[in-house]
């Protein structure tokens, strides 16, 4: 294993002092931003990616969570997953975000991984992660997709293409999807905001492009608008073992319930697409109806309409339906 590590190519290392410095160095070197490194350094060891430069963005001061005037919160992109999940504003106003984050990885990794890095992490498709497989359009554009007719039991049900059937691995992003998060980014041209729903890109013909960022653009924060879902929310992650594995299916739900009737709802699935998969149709079924198993079952059916299973992941359709019902039940009956 040691020999394999030293296959890692040497690189230039720059410690950025502030955001402008980071953007400038990225512009001149074409390097990769480095924060927690839990995914990037691993991919470098595996030879999946070989950046010529790393720009350390760990000391840019983007490590705070602040309340916004609108009643929401702004999470600096350098805040660790552990710090987000344990922050009092997140626990009390957005517990589903804490729940989702704590459902992923381990304490050691969450202590290192950051909000920005979580959004930037790559798929764990085995054909992407192992360079001995020749065909992976995400790793080598134009080389094909080995998963399409290969080992694909963990792969996509929605939004895939002939060129890529990989899923995005983030739990955090699934919760961010139901919270209508906004991603703040900066480049040397200026700042812009990207709705989370627009941040991740479906593969179509260019699976090498995971998201809407331009080269050199840097995530500086993730903003959450005020949420009414603090009480009736839940995150369920179903996987091959009880802890420390990626999702086969996950579900994030937020609702408001008045006198037994669902008055608003947001529902998103993880582990089924290259982005968190919001289901407006399921949300429409929920709103205005009694918060009971019958309604939840109808929402689950509607949510999975249009699923396109692959050769080995048909089971995920039923798994997702049952998971949706259970998640809605947990959110509705939260003590």
């Amino acid at each position: 294993m040691l020999a394999r590590v030293w296959q890692m190519k040497a690189f230039d290392f720059h410690r950025a002092h502030d955001v402008d410095d980071a953007l400038a160095v990225a512009g001149t070197t074409g390097g990769s931003y480095y924060a927690g490194g839990t995914n990037l350094l691993d991919l470098m060891k595996l030879g999946v990616t070989q950046p010529s430069s790393l720009i350390d963005i760990g000391r840019l001061g983007l490590d705070e969570i602040t309340a916004t005037d609108s009643g929401g919160v702004l999470i600096g992109s350098g805040v660790t997953n552990s710090a987000i999940a344990n922050h009092h504003l997140i626990r009390t106003r957005y517990p589903v975000l804490s729940h989702a984050i704590l459902s992923g990885a381990t304490t050691q990794l969450r202590n290192m991984a950051t909000a920005g890095g979580n959004l930037m992490q790559r798929t764990r498709c085995p054909y992407f992660m192992d360079v001995t497989f020749r065909a992976c359009n995400k790793r080598r554009p134009g080389s094909g997709c080995a998963a399409l007719d290969g080992f694909n039991r963990e792969h996509a049900l929605f939004g895939a293409s002939r060129s890529c059937v990989a899923v995005h691995p983030s739990d955090m992003a699934v919760a961010l999807a139901i919270l209508d998060a906004v991603v703040h980014v900066q480049s040397r041209e200026g700042a812009r905001s990207i709705a989370l729903s627009e941040f991740f890109q479906l593969p179509q013909d260019h699976p090498e492009q995971d998201n809407a960022l331009s080269p050199g653009e840097l995530i500086v924060g993730v903003e959450l608008p005020p949420s009414e879902y603090a009480f009736h929310s839940w995150y369920l992650k179903v996987r091959d073992r009880h802890s420390y594995a990626f999702a086969l299916v996950s579900v994030a739900v937020g609702m408001t319930i008045d006198d037994g009737i669902v008055t608003s709802a947001a529902l998103a699935l993880g582990g089924v697409a290259a982005r968190p998969w919001r289901s407006p149709d399921a949300e429409a079924v929920l709103v205005g109806n009694v918060a009971d198993i019958t309604t939840f079952g109808r929402a689950a059916e509607v949510a999975m309409n249009g699923a396109s299973p692959l050769s080995q992941n048909q089971f995920k359709v039923d798994l997702a339906k049952h998971s949706i019902v259970r998640t809605l039940h947990m959110a509705a009956t939260r003590r």
Partner: protein, 183 residues
């Protein structure tokens, strides 16, 4: 690999209370720095990909996997390794608990298990949550669970794999040590 052909960086760290300055290859992880350059071989290399937890150490008060920690990125940090837990010949109470409860067989994962458990006790004491905390009452989410159930310990130790399967005794050792061993 020839050392001269790649960029070298000086990294200054405080390791178990001792200041060190060491020249290192830019690609070196904290794990390799500890083991290969500083001969602190208590910290173990298992998978080298952040999966097994054998390399767990504490950096700036937080447990991390040292195999995915780029040494140059933590210049100036305070590091606590398994070698820093005992007080001379006096075992740390958590180390003693692992002995008393037979919390290992081959012992390879043990430094990582103990380093991880040491941090766990501190995290619980300050009210951190785990995914298992959501199985409890809603009020637990604001304060953190008062007691550490077996489920809580198992979830919080999920990042440390023991191939011998000594898990029941590891959990017992940690549970026996609550809460004062986290310091």
């Amino acid at each position: 690999m020839t050392a001269g052909s790649h960029p070298e960086h000086t990294v200054e760290l405080s390791i178990n209370g001792v200041p060190v300055a060491v020249q290192t290859d830019v690609r070196s992880t904290l794990l390799d720095l500890l083991r290969e350059r500083l001969q602190l071989t208590g910290t173990k290399k298992g998978c080298d990909h952040g999966l097994c937890g054998a390399c767990t150490v504490n950096v700036n008060g937080r447990r991390v996997v040292s195999c995915l920690t780029l040494a140059v990125s933590i210049d100036g940090a305070t590091v606590l390794t398994i070698e820093g837990l005992a007080d001379g010949e006096q075992l740390h109470p958590l180390q003693q608990a692992f002995v008393d409860h037979d919390g290992f067989q081959c012992g390879y994962c043990t430094p990582g298990q103990i380093s991880s458990a040491h941090a766990l006790l501190g995290e619980h004491a300050r009210g951190d949550l785990s995914a298992a905390s959501f199985d409890g009452p809603y009020t637990d989410l604001a304060r953190g669970p008062e007691t550490l159930s077996t489920n809580e310990i198992r979830e919080r130790m999920a990042g440390n794999i023991c191939r011998c399967g000594a898990y029941p005794n590891i959990v017992e050792a940690i549970a026996s040590c609550l809460p004062e061993c986290g310091r």
